[in-house]
Symmetry: C2
Subunit: 337 residues, 2 copies
DNA sequence: TTGAAAGCGCTAACAC
DNA sequence: GTGTTAGCGCTTTCAA
């Protein structure tokens, strides 16, 4: 490996002059600048960042831990974070925890050991476990998509998202609802549910227990939609707490010959790309992932400056995206009730 | 930040003893070991990897550049690479080039500047541009999914994949084929096409130009399937060079009321998860991404040891996955011809 | 404008 | 088994 000394020798100057040239911290005369640049090109010199950061005490690197990069929801956030970090001359070290708490801890330790300047994290596990982690860490951490109370977080407003879905369905005249829920111990899912059910109840309707089916956040859970339809008074509208589940339900409905939205309306959550391949395409609640990512890195930079680990949670508002899978209650369906 | 000196002072030993304890390079007596560990815990000491790698001349870090982590095809490869690297005690720095050649170069420079020990790369752009890049680089690079001639690469065998698709369709009695192709200047797509068309021709049938539609690797391209069906002698089987395109075609067919596979058979490529949500589910050519990822890091480790940049290309065999979207030519369809 | 020298946190010889 | 010392590649005073 060629070093700054090699370059200096070749250009006939001192290492510190090369350093000055590279960092722009002090002016170097045009002729020497030229000689230095030539030496760099000839030698193919690439500065050693490890050595540099050992001196300057920062790495211009951010850590980012996500549960699963192959999840399109997360990968869109990742893309934005990458993008805005890069514009600020920061590199991001992206790590996939695989939803495994132990691995997550070890990744965090690794990041800290690399001396990243700050950390962005979509955590896995219980939110309360993270306040100690965040306060102990030698670098600021801001949480994304899943809030940690008392620590700077930026998430979307799931409660409002749930309300939005309910309001849309209620506006279409629906009064009997079914719910297909992902892991209900996940905070975000809980909040969507609370928002949805709360809004429905405010309008004087209720959602009885057998109308709520919960499972994993998979296509499989969606397929259990038939259970809902077999009820004595089947729902005319179904809320799935995420699009994957909605897609599973949609497929099952297609197999069963149940028409969407004529026989039953279906609404998802997240607005992943695949919601647009179904026929009809899926009405859903969209989360502004790009905005969430952007705000998250802004918050992190602020935390890095102020050295403040604690902080508020920022809520990014969700929005209703009406497509073809929801419609007014049909006379027939209404007659059944 | 607490350093190894702080720990040493607290434990009443020399820094080198702490180092010995940490690395296990030399034995330390149980009592001192205990005192050192206590000091570490009390101080919350985390070793500085930058400083360490400055000494030891390696970082135990691998670089990985992919065009788009949100693409489920790539993200599965990434997951495997992460996984096997981790077991070998290596950290991977994952970078998303966004399919942008300029950004790709800058990421590579960055990785080199970080002094990663080796680089894995799914490149964007023309393969020939990469041989210089790989030979100039101070660290070994192995290419994944997209081969670079003369440089160590591990890819799946797209030519055979195309053949497999054709053979399956031919075996079902099809003789008139349509093709929906992604960017045909991408090597992998070209090879799939060559394999498919070659096999068809070997059986004495031809695929005329109007039967081949090419565009981007998007749902949109798939939707142009109606052009194929409007031909004077429409195909009874359609090969899409990837699953996204196939999904687009499937949706369009559904809208048009064309039955799959009764009226037309449809086969995709890649075996992404979404091929299983359609009705019927999609017959496709599966690539063993996990195996590709595994072999790639193995190849990289070998290259890191031998310091050999040049090398062969390893081909991972694809396999046919028969599901519901392909079937025998119907009498009706056959009668039309 | 340029150079000499010290030191970031760590490890590896080597001496004790 | 443990301590001393030098030095990895870089930046940053401070002098010249």
């Amino acid at each position: 490996m060629t070093t700054i000394k090699d370059v200096a020798r070749r250009a006939g100057v001192a290492p510190s002059t090369v350093s000055n040239y590279l960092t722009g911290n002090a002016r170097v005369s045009p002729p020497t600048a030229k000689r230095i640049q030539e030496a760099i090109d000839e030698l193919g010199y690439i500065p050693n960042r490890a050595a540099r950061s050992l001196r300057v005490k920062h790495t211009n690197t951010l850590g980012l831990i996500v549960p699963d990069i192959s999840n399109p929801f997360f990968s869109e956030i990742v893309r934005t974070i990458n993008h805005v970090s890069q514009r600020m001359e920061y590199t991001v070290m992206l790590c996939d925890s695989g939803g495994d708490g132990t691995r997550e801890k070890s990744l965090l330790a690794n990041l800290l050991s690399q001396r990243v300047d700050g950390i962005l994290m979509i955590h896995t596990g219980h939110r309360d476990d993270y306040v100690e982690l965040a306060t102990q860490a030698s670098r600021p951490i801001v949480f994304v998509d899943r809030a940690v109370e008392g620590i700077r977080s930026v998430v979307t407003d799931n409660y409002t998202g749930g309300k939005l879905a309910a309001r849309h369905l209620l506006g279409l005249g629906h009064t009997r609802f079914g719910i297909l829920a992902g892991n209900t111990h996940v905070r975000n899912v809980q909040e969507r549910l609370e928002g949805f059910i709360g809004e429905v109840e405010e309008h004087g309707y209720a959602i009885e227990p057998p109308c709520i089916i919960s499972g994993e956040q998979t296509l499989e859970t969606g397929r259990e939609v038939d259970l809902l339809l077999k009820l004595r008074r089947p729902p005319t509208a179904i809320f799935a707490t995420n699009d994957i589940i909605a897609l599973g339900a949609w497929r099952k409905l297609l197999e069963m010959g149940v028409r969407v939205p004529e026989d039953v309306s279906l609404i998802g959550y997240d607005n992943i790309e695949m919601t647009q391949i179904t026929v009809p395409d899926l009405t859903t609640i969209g989360q502004d992932k790009a905005e969430m990512g952007r705000q998250a890195v802004l918050a992190l930079f602020e935390a890095m400056e102020t050295k403040q680990v604690t902080g508020e949670t920022t809520y990014i508002p969700p929005r209703l995206i009406v497509r073809g899978s929801t419609g007014p209650v049909e006379e027939t369906a209404a007659a059944q009730g």
